[in-house]
């Protein structure tokens, strides 16, 4: 068992640095959202903020790419996502087609650039 998890210290670090700081926001949401009415205006605002934060996460990955994605030139990253979005719209909003199209453009571009 100790080889599988590491030691109890490693598991404690996981709980303190990973589980608790992450889970606290879900539980606050449960505590707060438990009483909000489904049709309320507050919820329209909360959904807009959640969507915009997610948009920020998307933009962050594209503008400040992590790890191996940084090896893909800026123009190619933006171009691949734009191409994926175009395919998505042309295929009557097929997420699968859009994702596959965007990935294909990125891989083709990398191959072409060498």
């Amino acid at each position: 068992m100790s080889d599988f998890i590491g030691d109890w210290h490693a598991l404690l670090v996981l709980v303190i640095a990973g589980f608790l700081p992450n889970e606290v926001w879900r539980m606050l949401g449960l505590w707060f959202g438990g009483g909000v009415d489904e049709g309320s205006e507050l919820l329209v605002w909360v959904r807009a903020v959640a969507t915009a934060i997610l948009a920020g996460v998307i933009a962050q990955i594209l503008v400040l790419p992590p790890g191996a994605l940084a090896s893909v030139p800026d123009g190619l990253r933006y171009g691949a996502v734009a191409a994926g979005f175009a395919v998505f719209m042309l295929t009557r909003r097929s997420i699968f087609a859009g994702v596959a199209g965007g990935e294909a453009v990125m891989l083709a571009g990398k191959w072409w650039l060498g």
């Binding site: 599988f4 920020g56 990955i61 994702v99 990935e103």
Partner: protein, 231 residues
């Protein structure tokens, strides 16, 4: 119980399952390269259940940061879970639902489940939605545990280009699934403004850039929605 099985089956109905699979393949490989044990990274998948937070946790701890520094980085990335939970839970609740019935379903809420709840809930009778979410969450978690293990085992054999392709999956899939889920003008505006504002705010390097751009873009989108309603 039928709703639980229905939720589990829905795992196969979404392309986001593939995206999660690839993301957790990457997380498994990252954990291997950062010298964490397999059991530890599997425990992190079950307990944390949020891709970006796990990547941050593994890379900060792996690079020698303290527990406190890692915890702060993780908690900043997790703030987005709060509005997601607040907007999904009212769709799951019935007048007889107690808060404790929602704890496990709340734990499963991350981007994928948030998006899928908005897509699938209209087909699920309200009183079945909690069981449905449990099935969907446990099904997705099982897929991710498998992917984490596979990525951990394959780490040394994955080509670098695959790593770039896996990392590009997240923005592509998030963008397209959010775009498909937009119900009203405020959602579309929030998505477009959120994309546009982040690069501007990130110049400030506040450490909570996503939060600032998200709250302002979301609020502007809501303001436009209110203004149009009133006319």
């Amino acid at each position: 119980m039928r709703a639980f099985a229905w939720g589990m089956r829905s795992v196969a109905s979404t392309v986001l399952t593939l995206v999660l699979f690839a993301t957790y393949l990457g997380i498994g490989a990252l954990a291997h390269d950062s010298h964490f044990s397999l059991g530890w990274v599997l425990a992190s998948t079950v307990l944390v259940w949020a891709g970006p937070a796990q990547i941050i946790l593994i890379s900060t701890l792996g690079s020698g940061a303290t527990v406190v520094q890692a915890a702060i980085a993780v908690t900043v990335s997790a703030i987005r879970l709060f509005p997601m939970v607040v907007s999904v839970l009212p769709m799951m609740r019935t007048p007889r639902t107690k808060r404790r019935h929602l704890v496990l379903a709340t734990h499963f809420i991350a981007v994928t489940l948030w998006v899928e709840c908005f897509r699938l809930f209209p087909h699920v009778p309200r009183e079945r939605r909690i069981a449905f979410t449990h099935g969907l969450g446990i099904g997705l978690c099982a897929v991710c545990l498998f992917a984490t293990t596979l990525g951990y085992g394959l780490a040394a054999k994955l080509p670098p280009l695959l790593g770039a392709a896996i990392l590009l999956l997240t923005p592509l899939a998030f963008l397209l699934s959010t775009a498909r889920n937009c119900r009203q003008l405020s959602d579309v505006l929030a998505l477009v403004l959120g994309l546009a504002l982040f690069p501007l705010v990130s110049v400030l390097q506040t450490g909570v850039d996503i939060l600032i751009s998200g709250i302002s873009a979301g609020t502007i989108a809501y303001g436009v929605h209110r203004w149009r309603e009133r006319k």
